[in-house]
Symmetry: D2
Amino acid sequence: MSEINVVVAGASGKMGSEALRMIKKHAELNLVACIDMKHTGKKVNEVEGLPNFEAKFYNDIDLCLTEVNADVLVDLTSPKVGFKHTKAAIVHGVRPVVGTTGFTPEELDELTALAKEKEVGAVIAPNFAMGAVLMMQFSKLAAKYFPDIEIIEKHHDQKLDAPSGTAVKTAELIQENRQSKAQGHPEEQETITGARGANVDGMRIHSVRLPGLVAHQEVIFAGPGENLKIQHDSFHRESFMSGIKFAIDHVINMKELVYGLEHLMLD
Amino acid sequence: MSEINVVVAGASGKMGSEALRMIKKHAELNLVACIDMKHTGKKVNEVEGLPNFEAKFYNDIDLCLTEVNADVLVDLTSPKVGFKHTKAAIVHGVRPVVGTTGFTPEELDELTALAKEKEVGAVIAPNFAMGAVLMMQFSKLAAKYFPDIEIIEKHHDQKLDAPSGTAVKTAELIQENRQSKAQGHPEEQETITGARGANVDGMRIHSVRLPGLVAHQEVIFAGPGENLKIQHDSFHRESFMSGIKFAIDHVINMKELVYGLEHLMLD
Amino acid sequence: MSEINVVVAGASGKMGSEALRMIKKHAELNLVACIDMKHTGKKVNEVEGLPNFEAKFYNDIDLCLTEVNADVLVDLTSPKVGFKHTKAAIVHGVRPVVGTTGFTPEELDELTALAKEKEVGAVIAPNFAMGAVLMMQFSKLAAKYFPDIEIIEKHHDQKLDAPSGTAVKTAELIQENRQSKAQGHPEEQETITGARGANVDGMRIHSVRLPGLVAHQEVIFAGPGENLKIQHDSFHRESFMSGIKFAIDHVINMKELVYGLEHLMLD
Amino acid sequence: MSEINVVVAGASGKMGSEALRMIKKHAELNLVACIDMKHTGKKVNEVEGLPNFEAKFYNDIDLCLTEVNADVLVDLTSPKVGFKHTKAAIVHGVRPVVGTTGFTPEELDELTALAKEKEVGAVIAPNFAMGAVLMMQFSKLAAKYFPDIEIIEKHHDQKLDAPSGTAVKTAELIQENRQSKAQGHPEEQETITGARGANVDGMRIHSVRLPGLVAHQEVIFAGPGENLKIQHDSFHRESFMSGIKFAIDHVINMKELVYGLEHLMLD
């Protein structure tokens, strides 16, 4: 495999620094620069907690992509900054790999058109954990045959929202294939409010919040005499890195924008 | 082991017929009579679906216990009939083993006093599944060290009430040892109502209802970096029979009434 | 939906009688005859334990398919008898739905050619539990991205072989997509022989045998920081019936033989 | 609660530094010194990766316990060093809390006698994860009623030994109460060697090794129609710290040595 020159934006954040550690492990990936507001001018190895790279920090993407010879931009910043970065990368002919849930449909349309025009590959994904992507896609497929479904998602007890974004996204994908149905006995009663969980078109979602946990979800499909369960456990944010590596490897040979890792994995 | 003569009340019901099958498997247990409104005068082996016993059906407990030589009465009827049967058995010197959740505290007090006076052993239990009894008792013990607890109970989708009686009972036992606590983040928000389940003193109970399931419960105890889970799966009502056998074996040597199988198992 | 006339072969066996109960539940399915050596000449409702159908038992498939107007033959007999039945059905223009793992490749080739020639639909499947079929197919797909895989299968303790046929089949499907790999630490040591399970090309299979269990399997896919688990629980042989119903519905509109339910479900 | 002065030995190791973070979280715990060969003379806050404490590093336990006013010594070193430290602490009237599996019975006897003579409390434990301790003790209790038991332990794939020490220890505890039994069908056969796991007096242990995992164990107890499962998941070494805190709180009021956290938790 030939070498790939990578720029990482958001490199001093939690996900960004994890991405640097991932790059360190793969001989065919070269870190050629980082983009980050905080450490402009420093080298990566001068910042505490980051791996030993000679690459420099930039705060301006255009300057960065002009000065270094980059193949791929890994962007792990915010939706607002990420949009600007993605656009600039495509214009510079650098393939963006972007982790975000925050782009609007209009922004995605604009980026898709731009990538097509410039014939530059791009991967934008709300979730780079390959196991989570498979869990969601398998759930969508299984929903065709099992309309009785409950989702149990479990997270650490510092999480603010319930259900989780992944659970809601899973339910949406399921709804594309599930025959609408009110589950449970028609006359079932909650003797304590909330016992039966959140009701999404008759499906149920239960949110567990406990210390010790990280990010876990099980989707249970049920029919007469049988259950099928699809479960994902994320023990560490390292789980997102294999998906980013996978996207880097693919984007090199692409000529357009793909939204969602599943299209590279299952289509 | 010497032989034990058993009368089964409610013998043609689902639990009663299961008890007959259990007795059939144990050479040291003799079925000497059944009590049941429907089949008076018939022999057990004349009723479709019941095992091959010569024992006769009675509809009157006093007549039955006068005519046959019984050591133990296994009562699997209703609370109302069961109370009458239990009383009669103790008076006749026959040890009752009774599966019911329905006796009032006053009824239990009366039976306890009567058993003590007559020096007749008796076992009354709301749950004869030994695994479920252990799950509840272990949960009570663990609650001392882990105040962060969530219960997920799963049943077939024909169940009417949520949470299940076992989940509520488990929560009550936990509350005896758990330091009161509002779990989850203080500012957590349900974006879909019910996601966080039923709130019992800050603990959470989630009720799953799906076809294919029978009766299942997991109790999760959580602390920094770790989870302890105690789970019971009941796949078949046969699961109640080992507890009934266990109670029969013990009641023979008892001289008073015990309420709850846990007092024979863990004290 | 128009009505479908069904013949069931092996109707007095465990699976066959379950199939009759399934037919009873669906108004659009008519039971028009049964084939079975034991009850020739009787009506179904004259045999203890079977549902109330007027249909007659035959012992000769040609006679049966000549006398009754059948659309589909559900065959739940043995491989030897099943092969003869399947052939006869195709010749009579009756679509066979056959549950068996026992046909040889030559027999399958012969039946495939015959069905094609006669333009008669046919479904032959080693497993009609739709959840189990999905578990296996999803496992095959996931193996592409996660070469570290362990299978834990759990069955009742009366099972003679370990690993189960389903586990072995799952491993074979996985091998089609999995990059070969010796899992675990290169220097790992078993201090008690067998701890690390059965070794299939570096993958591991563990067979649990316990009372109370029915048929369960989990396939765990692992990567850095994450696990994906696909689990199937069969609680009752009723679990095979939704797949048979699904095959009946499809075979009506087919003009050739399909081997394996997955080709109707996921292709 | 009055304040407790703590010395930590092995403070720059993985467990030791975790202990420092735990002390930081509890206002009633004062770190008064550390013992460690590497950083003698430095302050804790001068060592990278350790929390901000003014306490000093010593390399000599006698000097340390003479110069500082300590209530408790937390020792997370090696068995050899730990033994010397424990002895010294008791002589100085400082209560040791020691995490080790490595003391010989003779060493334990000697320390027990010394603690009794000096009337100094001491806690030595092979496992400070309170959930793991409960898992093992509950397993021992349940074994009395369910002789059919299988253990599935799951660890990261860098682990060298299988089964894990915890699984072996659990099996030993179970054997104290379990009626000896060859599990599974008498004629069961492994078609692939190792499928049925490690055989410990008829019980079975299965060792799963996969990336992503940390340290997990489930113990399954089975009877007719039911399963009881006791599962512990350790997601992070932080899980050992609540047990160390618990031991510190108790040892203050003790006058003898206790081996094993279970004696403080369940007796």
